[in-house]
Each structure stands twice: as structure tokens, then as C-alpha cells.
Amino acid sequence: MIDVLYFAWVRERIGLPREQVQTQATTVAGLVDELRTREERYALAFSDLSSLRVAVDQELTDFDAPLAGAREVAFFPPMTGG
């Protein structure tokens, strides 16, 4: 089980800020593929990966990143701080 977190419009599209997910995926991209098949709102949120960023265990990474040992994966749009 890993915690999956959503922020900003990803959170709005999926409709919740975090959930626990049972996954067989070995990479972030694999997890995304699993989520996409769940429901339309997931497919919509993950329709364009180039507009998304991902963090594994609170470190920014990319969609090829392995999930081995990961406790927390977060999906969000490009940051707009400052």
C-alpha cells in the first residue's frame, strides 16, 4: 500500500486529496496506467503527463522513477510559488 497525494487541479479533477492504493506497478508510469483504468476522472486527470509533475517520498522525480520502497507518491501541476 502506498499513499497517493493529489494537489491543485489534479486534486480537483480526481476529487480527493489523498488515498491509499494497492499497486503492482514497479514505476510511477505503471501506477499512472493502473489509476487511469479506474474511472473517467482518473483518465482525465492523467490525460496529459507533460502537464504533470510527480514526487516520490517528497522528492521531485520523473515518471520513469521506480516505486520500490516508496511510501508516498504525489501528482500535481507545475509549481507556481514565489
Binding site: L5, F7, A8, W9, R11, A55, Q58, E59, L60, A74, F76, P77, P78, M79, T80, G81, G82
Partner: protein, 147 residues
Amino acid sequence: MRIVVQEQPFDLGAEVSAFAAGRHDLGAVVTFTGVVRDDPAKPLAQMMIEHYPGMTEKALEKIATEAQARWPLGDVLVIHRFGVLHPGEQIMMVATAARHRKDAFEAAEYLMDYLKSRAPFWKMEKGAAGEGWVAARSADEDALKRW
């Protein structure tokens, strides 16, 4: 190094005074302050800043640590707010202190460039015309290529 992520306002004047005080070996102090801007053509009622508790502090510490590794800085301060803000309010500030002005300026610009695109904050604007998430500017991503 001091990293602060908080909902409440900060006292810019007091922070700058405290940051600059007491260190006699540092000749140059640079600050940047980000303010919620109001466009008269598209009036803003409020700005809501979402962040990723836990990761935010780590990301800011990583950026500040990297700045300290690249420039001989005496001190670094980063303060960033989240939650609901109104036009004219201060969103965030960074401060750098060094012996020479070039180092203090470059480090402050570096902090801002990375904070913009690598710290997990997202801005939503609410106004008369509705609400919407602020889009990342490609100029902000491009700014990182400088370093």
C-alpha cells in the same frame, strides 16, 4: 539558514532588520519580497496558495543548501506563506547576506528561480471573472538554465 512555511503574515521590516543585525563580517544584504499583485483590468478578490506540507520545507531547505554551497553566504532566510491572501499582501521573501554584493545578488536570484519552479506551491486566483489556477510560465522554467 532559516526556512519558514506559514499561513499567517510575516513582518517584512522586522525580518529584514533581524536578518541584517549582528553579523559584522557581512557587507551585503539582498532581499526579495513577492507581493500579491492586482491587475486593474482583471480585479483579484483573493489568492489561495496550496502547498505540500512536509515536501515544501524539504524542497526549500534543499534549494537554500545548494545556494550556500555555490556562494559564500553568511546567512540565508526563506519565508513562504500559504492559505488565503489578498492584493498587496506579502506572499514570501528571501534574504541573503555575503561579504560582496555580487554573491548576495546572485544567490537571491538563484533562490527565487528555483523556489518558483521547484518548491511545491500552487496559486489559485479568485476574482469577479471566476477562479482559476495560475499557470506556470515557461520563462520561469527557462530561468533555471542560467544556473
